[in-house]
Symmetry: C2
Subunit: 338 residues, 2 copies
């Protein structure tokens, strides 16, 4: 993921453009991986960096840090942050914990736990804030997905016919189960996408903002609920929602960054970060949208019970005209982020 | 996997062409999945079938069995075979446990355990025997894999150059580790393939045979060692070994099948089963082979320590002429079956 220069560059800039904040400070890098963020912090002037990594990548981080001659500044600790002990509180925590649509993977839990355990009062977080966005978009992928589902069900029909003919076994009792599985996959599973800004049918709405300095693990674990309006500035059919996030490296109130840096994963004609955006397909699309229409949305996202690193999204939405008249019935779409 | 008619058809034939063996018998299906093999056994005349399934697929099996009106004959039991109890010994165990190259997934352990626990003396296994084969083949994939590795290392060189230029971080200390990871992936990881018989450079050699009625779990868990010769009947470059298996449904000595059925996964111009074959790439190829040459092989396969369902293969081989003269140095190739 180091190849993602928008990502790596944002972390680099957040460090080296804020040397006054890092100079002489004690820094903790949660989930250091190759050690790159710890190296950036050291290059920005940190006097000590604890680089914690749960996996055997810690060995590569050590080698890389030694090769930069930074082994006296950076201490690599192999272990899970939940059980690691440090000899002192830290001034800054830096971490790259963001998953698809910000929260997939649930890595933020560990960073907040490290914050509560190791960050001195007034200490800074890099990044310190996160925002989540959604917008309606045009995309042919929604039609493709519907027709792939149709193809799958055609295949099933042929298959059950063969099974009856060849082996005298009637599989049609499983048709509903099969169709549900296929529909979950083709219609209700969100997908990584690299949306071009030209696909947007309205301005992205920031529907959730996290102050990472104050949010609690319990708040992060609770269902994320939000009511918001998506305004259209284009007419036609809305075939999907695009979801994405940005994070800001602003330090803390007591120790603000001199040059706050923003890492955005918004649709960008120059190409996506490795996070891309998440595409939530509307099957069927919301059709016949006018330019001044508004989609009133009631959003809820929870961790999946079968795998807490994955998410389940429910979006209730009603199309209303700019003047306020309801133009369609409320719809409820459900999605899985795999 | 029911769509694989070579597989499903072999099990179907093994049952219905041996009605005299199944009529009035008690059968156990280990890992029944959708319940299809239990249904075949019931259709072949079994008076009672225990269909054991560890996963929630058991619910679908129940529905499918009910839809065939076979719920009085077939009893679906959700649980792992290791902890299931049956009220009686069984006459026949049927199971579809085979993984890629026969033993990947290590599902045979459970079937042998069920055999020792539940099969009455003289009872029959379907399948009852298994054989493993290898042969040298022509394939362009070996060259593609080598050039993909070259591309990956070119990409790495460019990437490390960028990291140095943009962020003043020297990653070259990780080059050897990266190259080893990439070489493992591109050159030493075997791949699913659908080999055409025309690619064979010599007749497949059966290098291992299992009598499933007598082999023990300990024997299956121990390293599989075999010394054998692959004879060439074509000249040119041997670019890979193809590995595959077959199983025979022959019942037991005391209760032999009237019509033994063979399910083979050998290269077949009409297309592969879902197992395909495993392709072990020779990078570089064994070049300049003559028609009467022989490859003396010393084969060893073990379960991987990091995941006992996956396998590690080592093949020492020396090319000798038909007359016995050594034509090349011994080579040692190592492969992972992922």
């Amino acid at each position: 993921m180091l190849e993602d220069h928008k990502r790596t560059g944002a972390y680099y800039n957040a460090c080296v453009q804020n040397r006054a904040q890092f100079a002489g400070k004690v820094v903790l890098d949660v989930g250091t991986g190759s050690g790159i963020l710890a190296i950036f912090a050291a290059k920005a002037g940190a006097k000590k960096v604890y680089a914690v990594e749960a996996t055997s990548m810690a060995q590569q981080a050590k080698a890389l840090i030694q090769a930069q001659g930074l082994q006296d500044t950076i201490e690599v600790i192999q272990g899970v942050i939940e059980s690691v002990e440090l000899p002192q509180k830290v001034d800054i925590i830096i971490s790259e914990w963001m998953g698809y649509f910000l929260l997939r993977e649930s890595m933020l839990d560990s960073v907040l736990l490290a914050r509560d355990k190791f960050l001195r009062p007034g200490g800074a977080l890099y990044p310190s804030h996160a925002k989540m966005y959604m917008a309606p978009i045009r995309t042919n992928a929604s039609y493709h997905r519907s027709s792939e589902l149709d193809n799958a069900m055609e295949g099933w029909k042929e298959f059950t016919g063969d099974m009856k003919e060849y082996y005298d076994v009637d599989l049609t009792v499983l048709t509903d189960t099969y169709k549900k599985e296929q529909a979950d996959y083709y219609l209700q599973t969100s997908a990584w996408c690299d949306v071009n800004p030209g696909q947007l049918m309205g301005p992205p709405v920031c529907f959730k903002e996290y102050d990472l300095l104050t949010v609690t693990v319990d708040e992060i674990k609770a269902p994320l609920k939000a009511c918001f309006n998506m305004k259209f500035n284009a007419e036609g059919d809305a075939e999907a929602f695009v979801g994405f996030f940005d994070v800001t490296f602003a330090g803390s109130t007591e120790n603000p960054a001199d040059c706050p840096v923003v890492l955005t994963t918004a649709p960008d004609a120059t190409g996506a970060t490795h996070w891309g955006q998440q595409c939530f397909f509307l099957c069927p699309p919301v059709t016949g949208v006018s330019q001044s229409d508004v989609l009133e949305c009631d959003f809820e996202m929870v961790r999946r019970t079968d795998n807490h690193r994955l998410m389940a999204v429910q979006l209730k939405h009603t199309l209303v005209s700019g003047g306020g008249g309801v133009r369609g019935q409320q719809r409820v779409d459900k999605f899985n982020i795999e």
